[in-house]
Amino acid sequence: MNDDLRIQGAVFRGRPVRFQVDDQWIQSYEGETVAAALWACGIRHLRSSPVMAAPRGMFCYMGLCQECVVLIDGKRETSCSFPVSDGLRVSLLKTP
């Protein structure tokens, strides 16, 4: 899924911002969370599980499950509660 999942026409979003995920630049809007911005452009596989190294991504969207944890500017953060801003550097936690 590569198209933009943002719902059009219902609201005015915040100022456009750009942030980096691994080596890709992502277009986003102020007020969005990192998890929602990634979801909207089809980046849903955020990390690998600890034992089976199985693909995982955002699940509860309320800060509880920790499945959306990524590195943001070098720190482990739950991306579902982390707001986007210009120039953030996000690294996914996928084991190859």
């Binding site: 899924m1 219902a10 007020g31 969005e32 969370t33 909207a40 596989h45 034992v51 955002m58």
Partner: protein, 470 residues
């Protein structure tokens, strides 16, 4: 350390109403919320950088009343520990701080119950609650072609929201049948407004030609690194899968959920008595008709005291605030009773409806016995049902023994995603939920950066949301 008469934890409808009322009655009150703004799950506001062009948002009225009260609102602050006295440890943007209050009102709401199924750990599978927040607050569609599955009112809400926002619902998969819904009609008639809303959502599904599967369950979510499709089966009255559907339904996203569980980590830590009440969502703390616990000055309100829904939540908050104000000698017994009586009547009416709805989600035995042994139950530690069964075979009889033996519930979610399922698997073999108990709660309630805990911060540094001049 800053002291208050009343500290309310959680700014959903229950906590907002409790804090507003307590402050109005003259109590020095603080309301603590981990989210960026008051609202809670049902009234989650748009981000402040978004604008909706005029329309009033549900929940605005409660927020407005709170704003014009004298209650101090500490948003973006999570409570990570509680101790007697009552000491409340919070962590916010500026670090940690300890607050103190004579009265503590817990209003931390619920989290979703998930019954694990093959493939539910794939990226692209999210909770029904997650879907509501993604759509309502972030204005992002869960997917283009979405399977909505599970039980309860959120199922219909999510399906209707997806269609409204321009998505397609690939399948509407409801564990309940038509008769499960119609059996509840008499109680539902007490809220014609909600019946009207429900039937509008329902006709939205019909108009869109959504494939509806009643008395069905997902048996497997397929996909490599993302969702590709689902397999379904018909269930019997006990929710055990009987006839498998022959074809796989293609989908890019799955939204699933089996109702809500009261969030009891704080009441467990404070060692309150709990009882297992499936109709209220599971284990609930024991409280009296004023939502007062056996501990002096400790109240539990809203869905955290039992899932009764968004209409009942603020009423329970107000009743607790009145009782607390009386105990703090801000009002006399007459004033208490006069204000309380109409609230109690409204609360009873609202809870009847809420309980009827949450009854649709009470998990039936077949759903638990059908979880296959290679299905991951604990997402944090990759523990399967087979490993839990092995622990039971080795003699584990208490959920904390299973936790020690398997690590199920030991990961960073602290059992919030798997605790209910693991406990139900164990209870189905040992006999009852009462026999297997609950996971022991340990602080921190939220993952806390240890660097923040060792820093030193001044109370004056904490950013506080301002309230309107009065």
């Amino acid at each position: 350390m800053t002291g208050y008469d009343v500290i309310v934890i959680g700014a959903g409808p229950a906590g907002m109403a409790a804090a507003t009322r307590a402050a109005e009655l003259g109590a020095h009150t603080a309301l603590i919320e981990q989210g960026p703004e008051p609202g809670g799950q049902v009234y989650r506001p748009l981000p402040s950088q978004f604008s909706a062009g005029g329309d009033a948002h549900p929940g605005d009225e409660l927020r407005e009343q709170l704003r014009s009260s004298t209650a101090t609102v500490l948003a973006k602050h999570a409570v990570w520990n509680l101790a007697d006295g009552y000491h409340v440890d919070v962590i916010g943007p500026q670090g940690t701080k300890r607050l103190q209050a004579r009265t503590l009102i817990l209003a931390t709401g619920t989290y979703e119950r998930f019954v694990p199924v093959q493939g539910w750990t794939l990226p692209g599978v999210i909770g029904l609650g997650a879907a509501t927040v993604l759509i309502k607050s972030q204005q992002v569609l869960p997917g283009r072609n979405v399977v909505v599955a599970g039980a309860g009112p959120l199922l219909l809400l999510v399906a209707a929201m997806i269609l409204e926002a321009g998505g397609r619902v690939a399948a509407f998969v409801d564990l309940n049948g038509v008769t499960d819904w119609t059996a509840r009609l008499p109680t539902m008639l007490s809220r014609p407004d909600l019946i009207w809303q429900g039937s509008r959502w329902w006709s939205r599904l019909l108009r869109a030609g959504t494939p509806v599967f009643r008395r069905h369950v997902i048996t497997c979510i397929e996909g490599e690194n993302d969702v590709a499709g689902v397999q379904l089966a018909r269930v019997d009255r006990n929710w055990r899968a009987t006839h498998r559907e022959a074809r796989t339904i293609a989908a890019d996203t799955v939204c699933m959920g089996n109702g809500l569980c009261p969030s009891t980590d704080m009441t467990r830590l404070l060692k309150l008595g709990h009882r297992f009440a499936p109709e209220l969502g599971g284990w609930v703390p024991e409280v009296d008709e004023n939502f007062r616990s056996e501990r002096e000055g400790l109240y539990v309100v809203g869905d955290g005291a039992g899932v009764r829904g968004a209409a009942a939540a603020p009423l329970s908050g107000e009743i607790a605030a009145l009782s607390a104000a009386h105990a703090l000698e801000r009002i006399d017994r007459d004033q208490l009773e006069r204000a309380r009586t109409p609230l109690v009547q409204d609360f009873r009416r609202a809870s009847r409806f809420g309980l009827t709805m949450s009854g649709l989600t009470t998990v039936r035995a077949g759903l638990i016995s059908d979880i296959s042994s290679d299905t991951v139950v604990c997402r944090c530690e990759d523990i399967t049902r087979g490993q839990i069964d092995d622990a039971v075979a080795a003699g584990c009889r208490d959920i904390n023994q299973v936790k020690a033996a398997t690590r199920c519930g030991m990961g960073p979610c602290q059992g919030k995603m798997c605790g209910d399922a693991a406990t139900s698997i164990l209870a189905s073999q040992v006999g009852s939920h009462e026999q297997v108990g609950q996971l022991t709660a340990r602080p921190p309630f939220r993952p806390v950066d240890t660097k923040a805990l060792t820093g030193s911060f001044d109370y004056d540094d904490i950013v506080m949301a301002e309230h309107a001049p009065t």
